[in-house]
C-alpha cells in the first residue's frame, strides 16, 4: 500500500501542475492518502510529506485541523449521518439511532467485520432530502431504515464481489 502506486500517478501529477509550489498540493494529496489507506495513516503522512517537501509534522497538523480527514482507521464504508436541526426535524435522530442498532456499533464505532463506521455530522447542505448520510463523501438521500437495509446489503455484495 502506498500513494506511490501507479494508479495515483496521473492524479498526483495533475495536482502538482495546478499549484506554483509543492506545498500547496498537500490537501489533495492527503485525500489520496485517505483513499488509499482508508484513513490518514502515519505512512500516508510520511508519503505526502515527501511528495510536498514538508516536515511530516506540518502535514499531520493539516490532517488534524480539517474534519474531513480521518486520523483513525475507518470501516470500508464511512457513514456520516446528518442530524443537525433540519434533518433532526425529519427524524434523523431516530434514523441514526436505528442504524447504529442495526449495525450494532457505538457512535463513531466500526463494525466487527471492518465494513461500516457510523458517526453523526453537522449539516451537509442536503436538508431537503433528509434523513440523509454521506458515505465516503457521496450523498445517500431520502432515507428510511428499509431503504438503508437494502443499501447495506448492496454494499456488502459489492465488497464481496471486489474481493473475488
Amino acid at each position: 500500500m502506498s500513494i506511490h502506486d501507479e494508479k495515483y500517478a496521473k492524479r498526483i501529477e495533475a495536482t502538482f501542475a495546478k499549484y506554483p509550489d509543492k506545498r500547496s498540493a498537500v490537501m489533495p494529496l492527503l485525500y489520496i492518502a485517505q483513499e488509499e489507506y482508508g484513513w490518514v495513516s502515519p505512512e500516508g503522512i510520511e508519503e505526502v510529506a515527501q511528495y510536498c517537501d514538508m516536515d511530516p509534522t506540518q502535514v499531520k497538523s493539516i490532517a488534524g485541523f480539517y474534519t474531513m480527514y480521518s486520523e483513525q482507521p475507518k470501516g470500508k464504508y464511512w457513514l456520516q449521518v446528518c442530524n443537525d436541526l433540519p434533518c433532526a426535524l425529519r427524524g434523523a435522530d431516530e434514523f441514526h439511532k436505528q442504524l447504529k442498532e442495526y449495525l450494532n456499533v457505538e457512535e463513531g464505532g466500526t463494525t466487527a467485520d471492518g465494513m461500516f463506521t457510523v458517526e453523526h455530522v453537522m449539516c451537509l447542505a442536503a436538508c431537503d432530502k433528509a434523513p440523509m448520510l454521506q458515505c465516503n463523501f457521496h450523498f445517500v438521500e431520502n432515507l428510511d431504515m428499509e431503504k438503508m437495509k437494502a443499501q447495506i446489503e448492496q454494499w456488502r455484495a459489492e465488497a464481496k464481489a471486489e474481493k473475488k
Binding site: M54, D55, T57, K60, S61, G64, F65
Partner: protein
C-alpha cells in the same frame, strides 16, 4: 530588533509625544519608552501573529485634512484624533507618524482582565507544582491584570495529558498550553527546523511533533524559555528546583567556538552533599554572539562538570598523593628534564590556564607549545583577517554573502548555523561548499561540491568562477571554514586561500567581513594568542620530549596514533578533569577545575574575549589549571603563583598586545541591548539579562591597518588512494561520546550508534548492505567497528566516519584505510 532605520516619527502614548524609529513595532517602541504593553504571543525575535489579544490598546491617528494635509483641530484647538472603533492589537501595529495610543484607560484594563480570564478558563492553575512558577508570564500578568477571582467551575475545565514527551528532551503539559504558537514559530522562523505544529482546533488544540526522533532540533531547549507558561519544560530541569531558589552565575558555554553567553542556575543541593551545583543552563543575552539562544548541547551538556569520572585527588604513579607531594614530583621531573619539555593544551582551557602553562614551559627554556586537537590550522590568519571588529551576524542580509567551506556547521557550531540561516532568510546568499552532502545544505541558498582533498584548490581558484565573482561583489562577505576531510597542511592551505580571496576582494578590516573558522572547543583562538599551535603538536609527536605536560586533552580517545609516540615520552604530567586513560599513564596526574568551578576567559571564534564566573562548588581537590602550573613554577623558582585569575589576566594584558583592553573589569562591561529582555519574562522569555559582561573583541591586524602576511600557499597533492583502499574522512557530530558529553545521560538516546557512511556504488562493490557491521582498518590504529549507512550522502571512494561515536579512536584528520564487512575478508581488487 535590528533596525537600520534612522528616520523617526512622532507618536503619542497616553497623551505624551515621543520620537520613535519609523516602522518600529508598537510593542517594541513602547517598551523602549518604558511602557510595558503585556504580551503572550508576541516575541521581539519573531513575526507577530496577533493570536492572544493580550496587547489590546486604544489606537487612533491624528486627523489630517485630505486636501491640505493640515492637522484638523477640535473645538479646544487640540489635534483631532480618529480612533478605531474597537481596541487593536499593538503587536501587529507598526508605528506611523501621528499615531495615538492609549494604554491606561478603563477599556484597556478591562480588555486585559478579560483576556487573562479567558486564558484561565481552561488553565489548570497548578503553579505550586509548575516548573515555570516564579518566572511565568501568565502568573505575572494574572497578578497584574487578572480578575483575581475565578467564575469558572473547576470541574468544567478541560483536562488533558500533563506529561507528553515531545522527544527525549522536552515535555509538553497540554493543559497549560495557551496556544500562542511561540514554540512553533521559533522552530520555523528562528531555528529553521519546522518540527512543531498545532493539531486539531479549538479547545482540543495541541502542540505536536511528528519528526523522527521526536522534536528533532538542536535548538529545542529555547522553546522552554519563550513558552509563556509551563507547558514546555526540559527533561533536565523539570521538577529539579524552583526558580527563586537559584543563584544565577554568568558563564560561557565551553563546547564550541561560538562562545554562547550562558547563565548557570545553581543551588546548594542536598543530592550533592550541600554543595552548589548547576541545576540548569540558560541563555544570557549577547546580541552579537548568541542573541538569546543556545543549542541543546550547551544547555544539557553541563553534567560532565560533576561527572562520576572527575579526577578528585592528585595521583603519583597511580597512587593517591597529597597535592603538595604531587606538585613536588612534577617539579622535580621537570627540573631533571631541563628544557626538554613540552606542553599540549586542550582547546577548551581558559586563557589564564594557557598563559600559566606557557610561563612554566618558557621558564624552563622550552617553546614547545602544542594545541589539541591538531585538526584546524590558520588561527593566525583569523587574527589577521578575521571578521572585523563590530561584526554581528544579525546585521547580514540582502546583498551580503557567507561562504561555508569544508564544514558541517550544523554539527560544528550550531548557533552560528542558526544565525547564518536567519541571515539567509533576510536575503543573504549562503553558499555551502563541501565534498559531501551535509546537514548544512538544507540551510544553503546554493551548494557547491569538490572532491575530497580539493578544498584548498577550490578556494584558490574560486576567483575566476561565477561563484567567486558573486562572492566578491557582495557588500559584506564572511568566509567560514572547517576542516572536514582536510589534513592539517590542507587546512592551512584552505585558510590561506580564503584569506587571499578576502584580501583581494577587499572584504577585510571592517565589520561583517572576514574569516571565521569552526575551530574545535571554546578557546582555540585563545590557544593561538597564547602561543600554542597545532603544528607544534605534530612536532611534539615527531620528536617526543622527555617530559610532556598534557593539559585538558583527551589524547588517547581523540587520536589512535598517539600510542606510537607517547610511549617514548619518559614522564607524562597530566592536568586533567577526568580520571581517564592518560591519567593512568601519567607519572603525575593533577585534578583541575572545570569551567563551572572557577573563573576565567575564553576567546570565541569571532575573537571576543569573554569572561565566565565561578558557579559550582569545588570537586575534590581539583584546583584551576593556572594555579597548578603556577605552583609548579613557584617550586622551580619561577616566582610567586598569582593569587587570582584576574591577576593572571592582568599579566596577559601587559604582555600580549591583542589582550590590551581585556582586563576583567573591561570584560565585565555591559551596555543596553535590544530587545530589552531584562525587565520582565513575558516579553523576551526567560533568557537572562547580561550582567556579567559583553566581552571585548580583539581587533584584527587588518582592522588596525597592519601589514598582512598570509604566507605562501602550499597546496599539497591530493593523497593517492591505493587499490582496495578508501579515503577515511573523520567528521564532527554534535552529539557524541566525548567525555565532556558522556555524563549528560539524558542525551544518550540522542547519540547515534557508531556508524560510517559509504556510497552505494562502493557498498555494492564491497558487498556491504545498509546496516551491516563493518570494520574499518587504518594503519597504526585498532580496527573500528561501526554500522554501515549506505545512504547516498558519502561521495564515491570515501568513508564518512564520525569521530567520538565508536569506542576505538577515529583518526584526527583524513587518512587512507579499508572497510570490510565483519566476518568477511576485505575485498581486494586486482
Amino acid at each position: 530588533m535590528v533596525t537600520n532605520i534612522t528616520k523617526t516619527v512622532t507618536i503619542y502614548i497616553d497623551d505624551v509625544s515621543y520620537q520613535v524609529p519609523a516602522g518600529a513595532n508598537l510593542v517594541d517602541a513602547a517598551k523602549a519608552l518604558g511602557n510595558d504593553i503585556p504580551v503572550f504571543c508576541y516575541h521581539p525575535k519573531m513575526s507577530p501573529v496577533g493570536m492572544c489579544r493580550m496587547c489590546l490598546v486604544e489606537l487612533g491617528s491624528i486627523e489630517k485634512d485630505r486636501a491640505t494635509g493640515e492637522v484638523v483641530l477640535d473645538d479646544k484647538g487640540q489635534p483631532k484624533v480618529r480612533w478605531f472603533p474597537k481596541l487593536q492589537t499593538a503587536c501587529t501595529t507598526n508605528v506611523s507618524d501621528g499615531m495615538t495610543v492609549r494604554t491606561n484607560t478603563k477599556q484597556v484594563d478591562q480588555a486585559r482582565e478579560n483576556v487573562v480570564e479567558f486564558l484561565l478558563t481552561s488553565h489548570p492553575l497548578d503553579c505550586p507544582v509548575c516548573d515555570k512558577g516564579g518566572e511565568c508570564p501568565l502568573q505575572n500578568l494574572t497578578m497584574e491584570h487578572g480578575p483575581g477571582k475565578t467564575r469558572m467551575n473547576f470541574a468544567d475545565k478541560m483536562h488533558l495529558d500533563k506529561h507528553v514527551p515531545l522527544g527525549d528532551l522536552i515535555f509538553l503539559d497540554e493543559e497549560r498550553c495557551i496556544q500562542c504558537a511561540r514554540c512553533i514559530r521559533f522552530q520555523d522562523e528562528v531555528a529553521g527546523d519546522d518540527v512543531l505544529a498545532f493539531h486539531e482546533r479549538g479547545r482540543s488544540l495541541q502542540i505536536i511533533t511528528n519528526s523522527e526522533p521526536g522534536f528533532d532540533s538542536y535548538f529545542s531547549g529555547n522553546t522552554t524559555d519563550i513558552c509563556p507558561v509551563g507547558a514546555l519544560t526540559t527533561a533536565d530541569f523539570r521538577f529539579g528546583a524552583r526558580p527563586w531558589e537559584l543563584t544565577n552565575v554568568p558563564s560561557i558555554c565551553p563546547q564550541c567556538p561560538v562562545g554562547c553567553n550562558t547563565s548557570l542556575s545553581t543551588r546548594l543541593d542536598r543530592d550533592a552533599g550541600g554543595r552548589a551545583i548547576i541545576k540548569r543552563v540558560m541563555p544570557r543575552q549577547n546580541e552579537q554572539v548568541n542573541e538569546i539562544w543556545i543549542c541543546d548541547k550547551g544547555r544539557f551538556g553541563h553534567h560532565f562538570s560533576r561527572g562520576a569520572d572527575r579526577l578528585q585527588i592528585p595521583m603519583t604513579g597511580n597512587a593517591p598523593a597529597s597535592l603538595t607531594r604531587a606538585l613536588q614530583v612534577a617539579a622535580d621531573k621537570l627540573k631533571a628534564a631541563g628544557s626538554d619539555v613540552a606542553v599540549i593544551a586542550g582547546s577548551s582551557m581558559s586563557n589564564e590556564d594557557l598563559w600559566a602553562l606557557k610561563q612554566l614551559a618558557n621558564g624552563l627554556g622550552s617553546e614547545r607549545l602544542g594545541a589539541w586537537p591538531p585538526t584546524h590550522a590558520g588561527a593566525d590568519l583569523v587574527a589577521q583577517v578575521g571578521v572585523g571588529k563590530g561584526t554581528n551576524l544579525s546585521a547580514l542580509g540582502k546583498g551580503d554573502a557567507v561562504l561555508i567551506i569544508a564544514s558541517d556547521l550544523e554539527e560544528e557550531a550550531p548557533v552560528w548555523r542558526l544565525r547564518i540561516n536567519q541571515a539567509r532568510k533576510r536575503g543573504a546568499i549562503v553558499v555551502v561548499a563541501n565534498a559531501r552532502k551535509t546537514q548544512m545544505d538544507e540551510f544553503a541558498s546554493e551548494t557547491a561540491t569538490f572532491e575530497y582533498g580539493e578544498a584548498p584548490k577550490f578556494m584558490a581558484d574560486i576567483e575566476a568562477s561565477d561563484l567567486g565573482k558573486k562572492l566578491a561583489a557582495a557588500n559584506n562577505l564572511i568566509i567560514l571554514t572547517g576542516a572536514d576531510g582536510l589534513t592539517l597542511v590542507e587546512s592551512r592551505a584552505l585558510m590561506q586561500s580564503a584569506a587571499n580571496f578576502l584580501i583581494k576582494t577587499g572584504h577585510i578590516g571592517k565589520a561583517n567581513n572576514g574569516l571565521m573558522s569552526a575551530f574545535p572547543g571554546s578557546n582555540a583562538m585563545g590557544l593561538y594568542y597564547m602561543g600554542f599551535t597545532p603544528e607544534a603538536t605534530l612536532d611534539i609527536a615527531q620528536k617526543p620530549p622527555k617530559v610532556l605536560i598534557v593539559a585538558q586533552s583527551d589524547l588517547i580517545a581523540d587520536d589512535p596514533s598517539v600510542g606510537e609516540w607517547l610511549t617514548k615520552v619518559e614522564t607524562i604530567i597530566s592536568l586533567t578533569l577526568f580520571n581517564d586513560a592518560l591519567a593512568g599513564l601519567a607519572t603525575v596526574a593533577l585534578p583541575i577545575q572545570s569551567f563551572a568551578e572557577r573563573d576565567g576567559t575564553f576567546v570565541n571564534g569571532e575573537r571576543r574575549v569573554q569572561r565566565f564566573y565561578t558557579a559550582q562548588g569545588p570537586i575534590g581537590e581539583a584546583t584551576p589549571a593556572w594555579q597548578v602550573a603556577g605552583r609548579i613554577g613557584e617550586l622551580l623558582g619561577q616566582g610567586k603563583v598569582k593569587l587570582s585569575a584576574a591577576a593572571v589576566m592582568l599579566d596577559i594584558t601587559k604582555s600580549v598586545p591583542a589582550f590590551e583592553g581585556a582586563r576583567y573589569k573591561e570584560l565585565a562591561h555591559v551596555e543596553p541591548q535590544f530587545p530589552m529582555i531584562q525587565k520582565d519574562v513575558y516579553y523576551g522569555g526567560t533568557a537572562y539579562e547580561n550582567t556579567g559582561g559583553l566581552g571585548v573583541q580583539i581587533p584584527t591586524a587588518a582592522d588596525q591597518g597592519e601589514t598582512l602576511n598570509v604566507g605562501e600557499v602550499f597546496v599539497p597533492e591530493t593523497p593517492k588512494v591505493g587499490k582496495g583502499k578508501m579515503l577515511i574522512i573523520p567528521t564532527q557530530v554534535l552529539y557524541n561520546r566525548e567525555r565532556t558529553f558522556q555524563s549528560s545521560e539524558l542525551m544518550h538516546p540522542r547519540v547515534a550508534d557508531p556508524y560510517a557512511e559509504i556510497n552505494s556504488a562502493d557498498a555494492k562493490r564491497l558487498n556491504i548492505n545498509n546496516g551491516d557491521m563493518v570494520e574499518i582498518a587504518i594503519a597504526g590504529a585498532s580496527a573500528i567497528r561501526v554500522r554501515a549507512q549506505v545512504d547516498g550522502r558519502a561521495p564515491k571512494g570515501a568513508v564518512i566516519l564520525p569521530r567520538h561515536l565508536a569506542t576505538n579512536a577515529v583518526p584526527l584528520t583524513a587518512t587512507v584505510g579499508s572497510i570490510s564487512k565483519v566476518g568477511q575478508a576485505a575485498v581486494v581488487e586486482g
